[in-house]
Symmetry: C3
């Protein structure tokens, strides 16, 4: 049952990330193959890095449903994106769910593979953000690291809350849900209220002795 939940989370996360890749492909007016590649890169990028670093079999090579999901999403977006009004809003919210779910999933897998908590948190965050990072690099878009609202921070919160709770023995379902809700709520604040962390500023006016 738990492993079913994990697979469903994983497929959902891959699907929403793939959708953000497809939407970037539509903005860049790519062809159908470009849609497929952007959806796939974004959908499976983070999990691929996670599995490669943990020396596990790569999830989408073992189970081809993940690729089918990415390619299906690419097709749907190529043909139906214009139907979807306000699709950037959809993109943002879908991405927020994927971000939180993938952070927790990545951290969970890392802990299961024997990683200690701090690397597990970092691997969770990577799982959630790496696909988007390469999506933006390949498409020549402004990197998500340079955008103002909380994003990677939400991934960090999800992975952190989950990892700390799981390390203290809180039941897995509870720590999973709490981790997802925490990161999603933070990201929701970023989307809706424009929450952001203070950015570094050249404090030129200040003087130091």
């Amino acid at each position: 049952m738990l492993s079913d939940l994990l697979v469903i989370m994983d497929l959902t996360g891959v699907a929403v990330f793939a959708a953000t890749g497809g939407l970037v492909a539509s903005r860049k007016q790519m062809d159908l193959i470009g849609f497929g590649m952007m959806a796939t890169l974004t959908g499976i990028g983070g999990g691929t890095l996670r599995d490669a670093l943990l020396d596990r079999p790569i999830f989408w090579i073992t189970d081809q449903r993940y690729l089918l999901v990415c390619l299906g999403i690419a097709l749907i977006i190529y043909f139906f994106a214009p139907l979807v009004q306000r699709r950037y809003t959809l993109l943002l919210w879908g991405d927020a769910i994927g971000l939180a779910a993938f952070s927790v999933l990545g951290a969970f897998i890392a802990l299961q593979t024997g990683a200690t908590p701090l690397p597990a948190i970092v691997l969770g965050m990577m799982t959630a953000t790496f696909g988007g990072l390469i999506r933006d690099i390949v498409a020549g878009e402004k990197s998500l690291l340079l955008k103002p609202e909380v994003y990677a921070t939400a991934a960090l919160l999800s992975a952190g809350v989950f990892t700390v709770m799981a390390s203290f023995g809180v039941p897995l379902i509870l720590s999973t849900l709490t981790g997802i809700v925490a990161g999603f709520a933070l990201r929701a604040g970023g989307i809706h209220f424009g929450w952001s962390l203070p950015r570094y500023r050249q404090r030129a006016g200040r003087t130091y002795k």
Copy 2:
């Protein structure tokens, strides 16, 4: 004999990709080390990703001829590129051969390592396109995913034709050659006639009920 053919295909693919990397280095007026790095990154990038994802020993660590080829190509291009008139044409055609050969080779290795057909096709396509993708990112050039003519599509066709034929038991030499010819022919149409897939367009004027 088959494995000889594979090694020759592989060395040839690495050499032509390395050459495209070297030519980009010449366009960006890099120094000799830059030539070496661009040639090597482009030449071995795709196969490195393939081997890392399939958890095989990385081919150029095991067999140093691949690095020698990349570095030799870098030297040749650094000193003789001006001799070669119309070298962008050469680049395009060499790249087309490498693209088709690497797609088939990547898919073949994936199947041999036990991958199912769909992941094998994706891995074949990645093997062929990843080196060029990082070449363009590192050099700050427009990504091949954003260019109009068929490119990744040709890689997909090569990997797909080969994988389907091989999965149905067609002799390896025949499926290999058919796969290479199919992808090369498609890419040739892209270079010569400007073939391209329809790009996604904002269908703003259309109305939906």
Copy 3:
């Protein structure tokens, strides 16, 4: 004692690279999480690639001190960067030390894992330059491959001198120090005197028979 020396070199290299990542984050006015991610990507990027390609356990998953160093450096730079006058000078010199040390370390680990000399040299150079390469790509800065002064060349020299000496049986401490000093001296010449390799130039005026 030798392995202590290696760990110290490694932690130092990670720290100075992390610092260059943090300083780029300050230039791009990122938030604290951005600092953490840039410092971590830059600090551990090269070694991660090295370990993944050599199919070793990833160093920062096994030993979480590396992440602590990156995050600590990110915090320090976020809060104290304005204190440091002329921090770009510091960045350059710290980076020069890390570059030389990481090249030697990467080549050493590759040789130890059974690689032959040429791949070991390439892996050493990759270990030293890959973190900076992704730092520049993610931050949208001009790639270090496109900058005029010797940089990758110094990494190549360090890895090359070390690997050749070690292959001829020179004691490890001696080849390590010589390798580091050679690459550092070359890079120092690049920083101080602007040493550079001749760049490829379109020799349009020349005629060939």
